[in-house]
Amino acid sequence: MMDEKFDCIIVGAGIAGLAAAMTLARNNMKFLLIEKGEFAGSKNVSGGVLWGHDLAKLVPEYWKEEDGGWERFINHRRLTFMDDQSTFSVDFKSSHFNEPPYSGVVVLRSKFDRWLAGKVQEEIDKSDYAMESFIATNIKVDEILMEDDKAVGIRTGEEEFHAHSVIISEGVNNLLTRQVGLQDDYVPADHMLTGIKEVIRFDQKVLEDRFQLNGLSGMSNEFVGYATDGVEGGGFLYTNRDTISLGLVAGIKDMREKQKSPHDILNTFKSHPVIQDTIKGGEVVEYSAHVVSSGDKRVMPKELYKDGVLICGEAANLLMNAGKAIQGMDYAMRSGILGAETIVKAKERDDYTSNTLKEYKQALAKSYVMKDINNFQDAVHMLHNPKMFKDVPNLICDFGRKFFTIDNEPTKKSREMMAESIKEHSSYWDLIKIGLKGAKSL
């Protein structure tokens, strides 16, 4: 009985893998979820806002749990442009977002993933395969076993396990995706970014007062400009229960060229006068760093499936990193769900070949995931444009400074001020180009 085949083996218990596992358990499938970290979430680093409503599909009414895996719901968003001294923010807060299902929740992955894994286990326990489905941690999958170019199982160390299908949800370092031949080995460095993050603790009351939080409401703030010290990328700040997650993502190639380390950039960001005020009195309790992809479609795997295997989440480069916010967890969750639903169908038809599995790609194409990714490619490309993370924020802050200065001189019209700022920071021509591109992309 033990050595019998699994319906599916899922590699990687990140968001995509856990979403897939939950879906399989609910559909009464016999599966194995394998995670190399000591526990689900131990290796995962996200800033993290999990956007969208899919979490409620996986864990209905998750907000009712006393101590669920999430930190706060978002009802307050802010986009901040910064130069070396000033910030200029676009700020939106609405009580419209106060009721569940929330449109976004902040999570700390080491806690959230573990919690979600617990929920998956509960679902396994309720299924027919309570004794035959497993979540196994601290196990690294070394190889996907292939027979006639069809995935038939996995190898870890000396051990081999067989399955009708494999879901690869291994995240951004997608070695197995490459091993099965769905992605080229070479991914250009300018499509890779490093994300680093600090968790900074406050007295909960202080945190709530400082960010005007109410109950479990929370804020997300993205930063463009000085936050990355001239390197392509952006910064973020999210409020957790009694900590904030503060960090940034920065292009690896650009960093290398400018000879800057993520650590230095984060320190520069933190020493900005406005950020200094924001984090005063906090204590850094965690520091972590992780590679994150750019979400450029050009580096997506050649295909998302082949006989017996599907690629979900960031392993498939399903991510959007367009300056305004990183979205990767919600895409990972949706793709995990859709992938698992396809495996369920494959079992019904007893056909795990591409014939059935291609429906995963079709479902993904119909979903908001691929629509978003397709629609925002221009914005993703703009991320590489130095004007976007340098000149434009400088210009906006300069305009802000002029606009808000009252210095006993005749006050100029804002249009004039804008023109002055533009002259100083950028040529009209550049700005028009960016404006056109930006308008088209967003």
Binding site: R114, M131, F134, A136, E159, V199, V285
Partner: protein
């Protein structure tokens, strides 16, 4: 040989912790198998592989400690007893030793192994307490074990060096993590662990009246240890650094 290994679930000391109103809060709630107990399990498994026998783990703790029991079973222990507590109690080493002593009073075994201490509290008491309650010859802080006919040979790290002690079985030993590198459960091990027998025992099954378990010691609060401030860090030419620091140690600190 029949081994009982007493295992404890402890908070992961590597996880971030904070203190709120004197209480320790670890909000990731990461609980692990006490590292010293993992070494005790490992050593028992090695001896079993050499000499045959059975390894059974015993844990006193709340429901969520099942996870830790599974870990020991996944490593290769044959079966387990889970003595359930509510999880809200503040038992000290003596309380656990009392419960375990009651459990063992009608059991047969060659060796009871414990960890030399709990990783979170570093108390290092429960093992020898249990030995005393059960009137067993015992040795603590073992860094090596060997089995001979009717005798467990313990190498223990003592004050004056390593003592080689022969203990007639049945006996008790507490294990240091310097003894071995505990195996990481294989996937097969993890899968098999789900089918291994875990016997659930309530305190009432042992005729223990919970109200009689009043600990004589209590933890009344926690505080962060006053942190050492990082001092000066020197980078540069080795010769210069060496000279600079040597001079500072001599002239500023007066410790040379």
């Amino acid at each position: 040989m029949k081994f009982y290994v007493c295992i404890k679930q402890v908070p992961d000391v590597d996880a971030p912790i904070q203190i709120k109103d004197g209480k320790l809060i670890q909000d990731t709630d990461r609980m692990v198998l006490n590292a010293y107990d993992a070494s005790a399990v490992e050593e028992a498994l090695v001896l079993k592989e050499e000499h045959g026998g059975e390894v059974e783990v015993v844990l006193v703790g709340p429901d969520k400690a099942k996870e830790t029991i599974r870990k020991a079973l996944a490593m290769g222990a044959d079966k387990a007893t889970h003595i359930a507590t509510s999880g809200d109690e503040d038992y000290d080493s003596a309380t656990y030793a009392n419960i375990l002593a009651t459990f063992f009073s009608d059991k047969e075994y060659d060796v009871i192994s414990c960890g030399k201490q709990s990783q979170d509290t570093d108390a290092g008491l429960a093992g020898s307490m249990l030995g005393e309650h059960l009137d067993l010859p015992y040795a603590t802080n073992a860094v090596g074990l060997e089995a001979e006919e009717g005798t467990l040979v313990v190498k223990r790290q003592g004050d004056a060096g390593q003592e080689i002690i022969g203990l007639p079985t049945p006996c008790l030993v507490t294990c240091s993590n310097d003894m071995n590198e505990p195996r990481i459960p294989s996937l097969k091990g993890i899968m098999q662990s789900k089918r291994k027998p875990v016997e659930d025992v309530a305190l009432s099954d042992l005729d223990i009246d919970e109200s009689s378990l009043q600990p004589k010691t209590k933890v009344t609060g926690h505080m962060e240890k006053p942190e050492r401030e990082p001092g000066q860090k020197f980078e540069g030419e080795p010769e210069e650094l060496a000279q600079k620091v040597a001079t500072l140690l001599d002239e500023e600190e007066n410790v040379i």
